[in-house]
Each structure stands twice: as structure tokens, then as C-alpha cells.
Symmetry: D2
Subunit: 302 residues, 4 copies
């Protein structure tokens, strides 16, 4: 038998799950917020798992991080000040810093142990990004940071765990949270957030979209297939300035060249267009979803 | 515990699998070719499983069948004579028959028991298509049918199981097979085939692409996310006439209207464009794959 | 891969389970009481599964049925009138009828569909027992039958599903139920019941023991390893006459010969002694368990 | 969902497995011989896993270690010199040292990392036994040690991993090995070895029995249910002196008192008798098994 005996099983719902064979466990601990596991999987290479949900794998993390970061960054005419909420493993930071216009990136993560264990065991993710002179790392609650923040940003990237009932991120997907972000965005500012599975939690994705739209007026959703998430994954943006969705493929490719971003593995003009092509069924769900508020938040099915 | 106790586990590789909770088993049998299971799953509704691999589920079969059939059919100026190889459950046939230009569809499936059990237990798939006067059902081997065939077709759709070593479909993905198909295609004819996962078996997909290209000169690949297949799924076409890839979204939408195809759930102009957007990494694999022949066929990893 | 793709997973607790590879599903249905599945498993041959719990497998059913039936039957000087509650698959009935003293066996099962599907698909279990002229089959609720019963019995065998909260058997393990049984037992009468896992639900087993003891005064527990139950399995008896526990191995063997029971696969004198040897840890749990009543029944952990 | 997401799956055969929910991974490493995992499981507490097979769990290790050690030690009139081959986690050593007659115990384990990690992470197993002045620890190959050994022993306990094809223990179950042990046993000496599952690998168990019998003339098998092994587990002894099997329960209990062994959790006179009661089916297998030799060893099914 060449079958592994260690398995990580991620349930998308109580009756659907992905089994990952594990070669070895590199790190396994509990921080104040969550359990942190870093394992070497057979198919996806090293994986970061928080509270039992895969966050990043070496094989496909570039898909997620490029899809999360670049549409908003490329749409913005000159992203100099960037705020990242979450993203402790450093992949989002790495992609943000590719943009040479960036002068300062503040990254606020609630869990220093995710940052530290990722730097130590998953250096391929941050690739030195935490040592970049443009980076300021703040350990703290993203919601509180936004509410107390006096700085202003061009782009805000929200890269936090899924909204699970009782989980640490449940108030990072509400109207009140996005209002706070709108306040700290500069005039042309854009916010983008990961927005759960468009398939297994389409209603949750749609609610995030409607919530951002209710605050920003102009908002949109897009999707990318992330193999380790077993799903087309959703992203939602809201904008006070330019709208990422209207960029043509050629415009995207031109800007990538002009801004000197030349070695991406996934994102490019044609992909940008494909990301924003949502299927009919999903568009219907998005039309009818409610707005999430602090008193009535949205949650993933599990 | 609300957990189901019956599970269907589909291994993509020996160390990666999808667990499907099963409510009930509707039919379970063995034909001469393969095992046939029809189950009611918790997340995907009724599922057809052949030799342990999910073929169609009620929740997402439209994605696969629309993506397989319509790009080639829409690209063809007037698809009157259509050949389907495989497709016993009837979903491909159903989509072909939406095209009013179709005068005759020959469907060749090797396993009459798949056809019969699907008609009986999964009528939602064929929706009466087998009773359409334009349909001729042939029970037999697709490879032999093509080699002995004196008719000519405008579109050929190959909807057979994956190329598994020793499996019934292993010689339906080779140069010799595609040469036979080229021979029975009319002047503007187009062939399209399902082409395995672009992720878990990218090399196999790329080999199918290269093989079709080696026969037709003009060929291409595209992909659609099929949730029950746990993957972006690949399709490959070869053409003696028009090239599906160059159709604009507007052209697709116009043709759908003009041809009276109005109630699709997934396929439309914008989706057509997104299907043909392959990521850089996959394009690289496609450039370097070999050609599969009867003496050296291509296989899925498991 | 020689791995099956169909699995039956039985959870002993939410965090411990046995995975059974399944070759084929022979029957799958729902009666008014429960779901009934009969499958061909790779390791245990055909299995009967009720509401997701393995009841009998062709490979090891003789262990369970012999251990359940013979200690009480052999201890009784002349078991002529026997009542079986449950046991719809017929294995218990088969073992009871081996005893030539038996003149009449009444079998009361609530679910005729278990009886019918077992007779049809698992004839190896009953081996014609239902056609024996000494058998009367009553379809109905065991509790109600006992309460309304005017007959008297020498041995009562309770072979019903585990006491699950809300399940059909929850009132077949209470003081009130055993009082009813005591009433319909003849002077030397003995009752025996299956009594759940002595390991995964030791407290439940001990409660059943204490409940029977509270009614009968003289009672005892014993255990046998049933591979398909993944556990040492518990049995509890109560007696108005002879006590099975005090029989020596030689006495058991002599009675088996004298009564003409010669072809058992498992039960014999030495095994009888081993069955009644409970480990210290379990004896301690048995001392301190409570008595289950209709208003405060005992349940299995899941 | 209260389901764990980390699972350890132990396959008894390719189509039968036990799933253990895991709370946390305490240690995970690879020595030169094998992979070593120490995890906190939900149901069994801390578990030691070597090459994917559970060796000891905090919940039930006493069953295995008491059953392995005491029958032979109690049968021997005065066990002063003891050799343990394997047993790196220290549980076997702990039980041996309970016998006050013991003057010296040599323990030979091939993998110092099992010893070290068990001492550090599973101190409940050895409970200081390694620090006992009567203990000499030898790191090395058990087979080679026996062949070169000039000392003589009263009892030899073989506590090594299962005979897997190509595994480190494959030559620790052969005729040649037992001949070596016979040579280094004193006149009344007894050897006992773990002997795999009497159920999932009954033929392997029987072969070990026949092999020991072919060397010692007088030999026997016995069994104990070890929950974490999912099976009745087999043990085989060979003796040059007294035969453990013929001891009565009272004799065992008397010797335990006389020798001052008072706080066992499982082993006692009645249990001793039950251990040696093998079912008919197994006795039949034992009669017909072959003898394993270096050139034709016996293996577990997986």
C-alpha cells in the first residue's frame, strides 16, 4: 500500500469533504486565536491550515494571492499606501510589494504566531517580504485597527479567514466594517476581500457582495479556481474610484508592463477578463442576497 | 450526528480524494464493461458513477454538457449531421438536439446498460431525447464504428470515460482514432472531446490536445470548472472549418438567439470567452506534450 | 489502485470510525422504522446495516448469534417456549431452533421489511428457520407485545438495535420493560439481551446490567469479541432459575452433546467460561451504574 | 461540526480501516528505521505510531503490555534474567520490572529515537523504568544481538513491530531467530512474542505459532482484545520449562500475591484462563500453518 496513513480531511459541508494525504507534520500548535498546522501534503506540498481549513499550499497559493491582489492594484492609478488586514502568511504582502508604486504597506494581523510560524516554516510564501523597508507589521484586531485609524490608504486588501459562526473573522464581513474601510480609503481608493466559495457558500459570497455594494455603491465580484479550496473562489471589491471590472485585457497587460510587474505566474490581461465572467446562476444569487450587519452577520455553511 | 454513513470516495490520486455523503443507492449493477452506480448524494443530488468515477450529477451536469457541446456546435455554420461517441446518460444528446439545424444525430455507446439505467433512473438527463425522431442509437464500440462508418458528419462529440490503463476508452484518445474521425467529418467539420482534468492530469490533457492538433492542424483546448469533478475540466477540439476560439462573445450571443437556443443555464457569449482563457502554466504544458498513438496511448494518473 | 470507491463508515464516536470497503450494494431501502442496507463488503462478505449500524455480517455473525443465544438456552434445564424480540434477520431464530427441546418460538419484530429483505438477500442467516413449524412470527412492537402477552416463556432473547436517543429501541432497555419480561417468564425463566459495546459504551452496558439486576435480583454480564462491531460486545442476562455463569465448561460440553447440538462454530464449554470473564475495569463500572427507567433511559454515546 | 479535521487512518487491509480523530500532533519525525508519530487522539489519548501503525495508546496500552509480559513471567518459577527485544516505548520494560525476582533486564531496541521520543513525550509508558538500576539498554539489531550473545536468560520478551514485507522486523519471526533465542535461554526459559492479529492475519499468527513450536516442541498461543489494534491480538510462547497454559487461575492469583505484584489493571487469574481460550476456528488454522524461515518468512497481509 502506498497510501498515506495521515490524512487531513476538510469538510466543505458535513456531507462533502476533501481528503489530503499527509507526508509529515512540520508544525502543529495553538495560538490564542486558532490552531495552526503546517504539514507536507502529498499533492499540494506544504500547506498552512488554520482551525482545520486550508489557507495556502505551495502548489497553488499563487493563484489565490495573485487573484486577490492584482485586479484592485492594477485598477488603481497609483497605489502608494496599502493596508492588508490578515494575510499573516505573507503571500498577499509579497504580491502587493511587486507594485513599485507602493511606498508603505501596513499589515494588521491578529495572530503573531501565524506570521512567525509562516516565516519560519513557509519562507516561500513571504520570500523576505516582511523585511522590506516599506512594510509595517501591526499585531492586532483588524476591526479595531480600522476604527481607530488616522491614516489613509489607496488600496485595502482583506485576507482573513472565512466568516464562521463564533470565529475570529465574523465581524470582518459586515456593513459596519466596510463603512470603516471606506472612511480610511483615499479618494480613488479600492477595497478587495476574499469572499468564500461561490459554489459551496454562494449565498454567503453574494451577501458579502451586496454588503460592500450597499456601502460603496460601486462594487463587484469575481472568481478564480483554487484547487486546494476545492472550489471556484470568490472575491469582492468596492471602489471610490476606478472600477477593476471595466479594464480590458490589453489595458491590464500594458499596465503590468509599464509598472514593471513581469514575472507573475497566473494573472494577466486575458485572465483578468475571465475572472470577472460570472455565470448566470451566480449572478442571480447576487441580485437577491441581503446585507450583513454586526447584528446580523453572514456565515459559511459549516 | 447528522453525518451520512454511506460514502462514495473518488480518488483523484492515491493521496487526494473527494468524499461524497450518500443518502441512498438507487441502482447498483455491473454491465459487461463496467460497474454502474446511481446514487442520491447529499450535496449533488443523483449521481451516475461508472467504475467508481462520477460521470454526471443532477446539480452540475449542465456545466459539463453545455461546455462540451455548444462551443463546437455554435462555431459550426450549420450543424446538421452529428455523431456522439459515448454519452450514454443522454445529457450530451439533449444539448445537441437543442440546435434546430440538427437533422440527424447518431449516438454510439458501447454500454446499453448505461443508457437503459440512465433513462430509467435519471430521466432528468436525457429529458426524452432518446425518443426524438432525429436520433439513431447504435450500441457498439466507438472506435470500430468510426473505422467502418460510411456516413459523414458536421460535428462529432466524444463523451467517453477517462483514458485509464486497461479501461474501455484507452484507444479513444489516440492519433489513429482522431484520423478516423477526420475522415468522417464533412468539409467544415469539427470534433470535440472531453479531455480529463487540466490540473490533476494536465499532461494527459496536453497530450490529447497535441494529438488532435497533429491530426487536424487547427485545434485548441478549453476548460470549465465542474464541481463534482473537483477540477477545472479540459476539452479539446480539432477543426477542418471554423475555429471556435476566435468567436467573440457577441457573435456567440447572436448565434444563440438566431438559432433559437434560449434557455441555457451556463453557456453564453461571455462564458465562451472565459472558457478559452487558459492560464499560462497550462499553456506551457500544452506546448511540450507528446502525441498519443495506439501503441503509446496516454493515461490518467490513477 | 485496488481500493474500493464505495465505503460504509460506521462511527463508534464522532472521532472514531471503521471504514468498510464495499463491493456492491445488494439492497437499499427505507422501511417505516429505519433505513435498511444490504451490501457486499470486501472483508466481511454480505452485511445487513440498519440506520447506518452494522447488524450482521456473513463472516462473523455466528459469533454474535451463538454468544447471544446459547448461554441462556444451555443454562435452562428444558427450554420449550422461547420468545425472541427483534432478530428480524433470522440468525437468532436459527440458533434457538437448534435446541431440540424447543416446542414453540414466538418472534416479534417491529419491521417486517427487515425480515423480508433478509430472507430474500441473506438466506444464509435464517437458513430456512422461518419455515420451521415451531415458529410464529409476529410483526409488532416488542414492548407492547410483552405488556399484552398472556403466554409464558422459558427463555426470552432480546435482539434489538442499540438504545439510541429517539431510536425505535429506546424503551427496550428499561426497568419497566424488564418487569414485563419477568412477568411472562416461567418459573425457571431466563432473559438475555444484547447490551452494546463494553468498551465504547461501557456505562450503557453497565446500566443495562444494573437495570436487569434491579428487576431479577440475579443477573450477569458477559462479552464476546465481534469483529464487525469493532469491539468486545456485551450481553446481559437475568434469571428466575439457573444462573448461566456458574456452569462449568464440562457441564456446557455435556449438555451440548446430550441435547444434540453438535455443529456450532464458536460456542463450547471453554468459550462459555471465557465469555463470563470480565476484566476488572469493567466490573468496577458495573458496580456504580444507575438503573434505566422509561422516564430516564440509557443511551449509546452516538 | 465537532468533527476533528486531522485523522489517522490505519488500514488493516486495503478495504478495511480504522479512522482516529486527532486533536494534536505532539511529535512527528523520521528515524533511520521508520517514521515516528506521537499524537493526541480524541478517543485513545496519546498514541505512538510507527510507520503508520499504532503501537501504544494511553487508554489501552496496559492491556497489551500486561498480556504480553505476565503469563510467561508468572509461569517461570524465578525470572531473574530477562531480555526484551524491541519495546522501545518502555511499557514492556515497566511490566517486567514489577517482578521483584528480576535482577537484570537487557533491552535491545534498534531505534534509539523511539526510546528517546517515548521517554520525552510518553513518560506515562516507561514511568521511570529506564532509570531502574537493573536495566541495561542496548541500541542495536535484535537478531544480531541474539546471535552474538553470551549471556543466558530466563525469559525473553519479543515486542517488535509486525512482520511487514521489507520492514525492520521481518527476520524476527523465523525459525532461525527462535533457534537463536532457544540457545540463550536457561534451562527453564520461556520466550513470548507478540504475534499479530488472530483475525486479520490469522494465518500469520498461526505460522508464528507453528514456527515457535517447531523449535521448542512445547509452545502455545493466546489472545487479548486490544481496542486500538481493532482486533483480538495474538501472542505466542515457547518454553523449555513450565507451560503457562496449564496454570490455573488460582495458581496465577497466588503467585501474583506471593511475588508482590498487586496493582495490575487487567491481568489476574481468571483473565489468564480466558486469554488461553482460543476459538475453534483459530485452532484449526493453527494446525495447518507452515513454519517460517529466513528464506521463506511470514508477513502480515498489508
Amino acid at each position: 500500500m502506498s497510501l498515506g496513513w495521515k490524512w487531513f480531511i476538510e469538510y466543505q459541508t458535513p456531507n462533502s469533504a476533501h481528503m489530503h494525504g499527509i507526508k509529515s507534520v512540520i508544525y502543529s500548535g495553538k495560538s490564542k486565536m486558532q490552531s495552526i498546522d503546517i504539514v507536507e501534503s502529498c499533492e499540494y506540498g506544504k500547506m498552512l491550515i488554520l482551525d482545520g481549513k486550508v489557507q495556502s499550499t505551495m502548489r497553488d497559493e499563487y493563484l489565490y494571492h495573485e487573484a486577490l491582489v492584482h485586479p484592485a492594484m492594477i485598477a488603481h492609478p497609483r497605489p502608494e499606501e496599502v493596508l492588508i488586514i490578515g494575510g499573516g502568511e505573507g503571500g498577499t504582502l509579497r504580491e502587493v510589494l511587486r507594485h513599485t508604486a507602493v511606498r508603505e504597506t501596513v499589515m494588521v494581523d491578529i495572530d503573531i504566531e501565524v506570521v512567525e510560524s509562516s516565516k519560519r516554516y513557509l519562507p516561500e510564501l513571504s520570500r523576505g517580504a516582511f523585511d522590506d523597508g516599506r512594510v509595517e507589521l501591526v499585531v492586532g484586531d483588524g476591526r479595531r485597527f480600522v476604527e481607530g485609524c488616522r491614516s489613509r490608504f489607496d488600496v485595502v486588501v482583506v485576507d482573513v479567514t472565512d466568516p464562521l459562526e463564533g470565529g475570529p473573522a465574523q465581524l470582518l464581513y459586515t456593513k459596519e466594517f466596510y463603512e470603516g474601510i471606506k472612511r480610511i480609503l483615499n479618494e480613488d481608493g479600492i477595497v478587495v476581500t476574499q469572499a468564500t466559495s461561490v459554489y459551496y457558500s454562494a449565498y454567503c459570497f453574494a451577501t458579502i457582495y451586496r454588503t460592500v455594494e450597499s456601502v460603496f455603491g460601486r462594487a463587484g465580484g469575481y472568481q478564480a479556481w483554487i484547487p486546494a479550496y476545492d472550489s471556484m473562489w470568490g472575491f469582492v471589491y468596492g471602489t471610490k474610484g476606478p472600477d477593476p471590472r471595466v479594464l480590458s485585457g490589453d489595458e491590464v497587460d500594458e499596465r503590468l508592463v509599464k509598472r514593471g510587474i513581469g514575472d507573475l505566474k497566473f494573472y494577466e490581461g486575458a485572465i483578468h477578463r475571465a475572472l470577472f465572467t460570472l455565470p448566470r446562476e451566480l449572478r442571480t444569487v447576487m441580485k437577491n442576497a441581503p446585507v450583513a450587519t454586526d447584528s446580523s452577520p453572514t456565515f459559511m455553511p459549516i
